[in-house]
């Protein structure tokens, strides 16, 4: 990229207030998940005094009607939910990029096969598959060990990722197919480079930033799927962010007026997902001259 365009995009990005607000929110939520548990004496399963409002000393987010500390359940829950969403996004990006590269670069029968599977996954509601696997293949124990919990997080994340790689594959395939017929790839081919070298040295660096954007969107979608599954009762851990919501509903928390118990974690997850979308939008606007709005 020439120096000139680089400085323009940087200038535009620096001026983009929305971008910086969203980046701060994302960093703050990640920090809350990573460091939050160190700032509370309670674990997510500890009972304390019920129905304390937010900002009570010792209970910054209050407590719910059973006496669970909302701050602790939020930070521990965030850890689980974010991990599942992150693993899903990583798996989807790895599988999707690999298959997208093969489909776009090799073409032919493999391309058709991958396209067929992609269309299948686009048409069928994959969430039902996640629900069946989540209900009958996750081993839930009364008091699971940390190792079992980690296994469940990895398992659920991988399942979600394996059912949403097609979005990445579709995006990567179209980019690779366009680059494949470009002059510089032809030149690289003429100078005797192998397919693998062309893909790794010539094509991947050019679509890396694009893959990163798709990764962020996949993270947002994976997280949204994770929390919806949690609400339905499919969870990697008993203190997943919204795992308790259903019990609360049955116990009538809505009528009990303990709104902070669901609104605070809800607002945090919405702010996080919305920020991811808006970051991608801002980067798109900055790097894509057709979308630039000055």
């Amino acid at each position: 990229m020439p120096r000139f365009t680089k400085s323009i995009t940087w200038l535009l990005l620096k001026r983009n207030k929305r971008f910086w607000v969203c980046i701060s929110i994302v960093v703050a939520v990640l920090a809350l998940a990573a460091l939050g548990p160190y700032f509370t004496p309670y674990r997510a399963v500890d009972f304390t005094v019920p129905r304390l409002p937010p900002l009570t000393p010792g209970h910054p987010f209050g407590t719910d009607n059973l006496g669970y500390d909302v701050y602790s359940s939020t930070v521990y829950g965030l850890r689980v939910s974010l991990s599942v969403g992150l693993i899903a996004a990583i798996v989807a990006t790895l599988v999707g990029t690999l298959l997208g590269l093969i489909a776009g670069y090799k073409g032919g029968a493999l391309d058709q096969l991958i396209e067929g599977v992609t269309n299948l996954l686009l048409t069928m509601p994959t969430v039902f598959i996640m629900i069946i696997i989540g209900t009958f293949y996750i081993q839930s124990e009364a008091s699971p060990s940390a190792w079992r919990e980690l296994q469940n997080i990895l398992f659920l994340g991988t399942v979600i990722g394996l059912l949403m790689w097609h979005w990445t594959a579709r995006a990567v395939r179209s980019q690779v197919a366009a680059l494949k017929v470009s002059d510089y790839v032809a030149a690289s081919k003429l100078s005797g480079n192998s397919d693998l070298k062309i893909i790794v040295k010539d094509i991947l660096p050019n679509i890396a930033s694009y893959i990163l954007l798709v990764f962020v969107i996949q993270l947002a979608n994976g997280l949204a799927t994770t929390v919806t599954l949690e609400f339905l009762g499919i969870k990697a851990s008993d203190w997943s962010l919204f795992a308790r919501l259903n019990q609360w509903l049955q116990m009538g928390v809505l009528w009990a007026g303990v709104w902070w118990a669901w609104l605070i974690p809800g607002a945090i997850i919405v702010a996080f997902i919305a920020s991811l979308y808006l970051i991608v939008l801002s980067l798109d606007e900055v790097f894509n001259p057709r979308l630039r709005r000055i």
């Binding site: 686009l122 598959i129 293949y137 609400f231 919305a274």
Partner: protein, 337 residues
């Protein structure tokens, strides 16, 4: 390609998609660890509170295995699954103590009443708002965060906010909808029953519409922005066409991917709608699904998965037909006019 050949091809593809999805469901249920089908069937056969001798348990178990066909070779079990499903037998729900298909028939009607109008309304509303945002830059500043926050909100959280503010605290609407609300309006429509129905129906409907509207609006905004920057739009502008006229042409182009998108998003919207209806105790498959997951009611989950997958596939086909009607390039190509 003639219209008939096109439709036949699409039907063939959708039949294939359904066969693969249903087979996947069958395989996942069949090979689940701990044989949940047998376990839940035993729960139906054994009366609670009665102590059985080990021999009796063994006998009941053998009987259950035979009734479920688990003693047959695998390919015959698979054939049995299809035979039963095509005959409308989706197994027995341990939670409801009733055949699954009987329950689902009722739920499906209720869910269609909620989901189908919500999808249509949110699609039109979202595309309209997205186009507005792309056209007016000052409006865009306000709309973008609103649109994206709506898309980012999981349906059930939005439903909770709605139910708490409008339903519980302000009491404008009924926070919970019961099947009597729906049935009394369906079977004896009058202003009174309609009023009662709307009082309970508005909140779930509004939640579903507003959240999925965000998705359509953000997609439309991007598509319209591209179209308004394209050469034909610039050319029209330079000829002196009004902004309104240019936008109407751009809209015709930008709407096509949104129709395809409707088919792609259907599955997500329907499952999210099911989760949402859990908040309002909506008498559809959502509540049943949550119960089924908690009680590991395997036939109920399997039945919901199969029936609602079929629903998504049928909707997709309807959209394909609509697409031919709406896109002039396809319409003229196929209908010769």
């Amino acid at each position: 390609m003639s219209l008939l050949a096109y439709l036949a091809r699409r039907i063939l593809i959708y039949v294939l998609v359904f066969v693969i999805s249903a087979s996947l469901v069958w395989a996942l249920v069949r090979f689940a660890p701990g044989d949940p089908a047998l376990t839940s069937f035993l729960r139906v056969m054994m009366a609670p509170g009665v102590t059985y001798t080990p021999e009796q348990v063994e006998g009941i178990k053998r009987q259950a295995i035979e009734l479920l066909g688990l003693n047959l070779p695998l390919h015959e079990q698979y054939a049995l699954f299809w035979r039963k499903m095509l005959a409308g037998d989706l197994g027995y729900s341990t939670y409801f103590m009733a055949p699954v298909s009987e329950k689902l028939r009722e739920y499906l009607v209720h869910d269609l009443i909620l989901i189908a109008p919500a999808i249509v309304v949110s699609w039109f509303l979202g595309n309209y708002i997205g186009a507005l945002a792309a056209r007016y830059k000052s409006l865009d500043r306000v709309l973008v965060p609103v649109i994206y926050i709506l898309t980012a909100t999981p349906y059930f959280i939005f439903g909770l906010v709605m139910v708490y503010t409008l339903g519980v605290t302000l009491g404008v609407f009924k926070p919970i909808i019961s099947s009597t609300d729906i049935k009394s309006f369906l079977y004896s429509p009058s202003p009174q029953t309609f009023y009662e129905f709307m009082k309970a129906y508005t909140l779930p409907f509004l939640s579903l519409v507003l959240v999925s509207m965000g998705g359509w609006a953000s997609g439309m905004r991007t598509l319209m922005t591209y179209e308004l920057e394209s050469n034909y739009a610039r050319y029209m502008e330079s000829l002196g066409f009004s902004g309104r006229k240019v936008a109407s042409y751009a809209f015709r182009y930008a709407i096509n991917p949104q129709i395809t998108g409707l088919g792609i998003q259907l599955g997500t919207v329907i499952v999210a709608g099911l989760a949402l209806s859990g908040i309002f105790n909506y008498p559809g498959a959502g509540i049943a699904l949550i119960y089924a997951i908690n009680f590991r009611d395997i036939f109920l989950i399997q039945g919901i998965a199969i029936v609602y997958t079929l629903m998504v596939i049928i909707f997709n086909f309807v959209i394909d037909v609509l697409y031919v009607v709406i896109d002039p390039r396809l319409r003229h190509g196929m209908m010769g006019g």
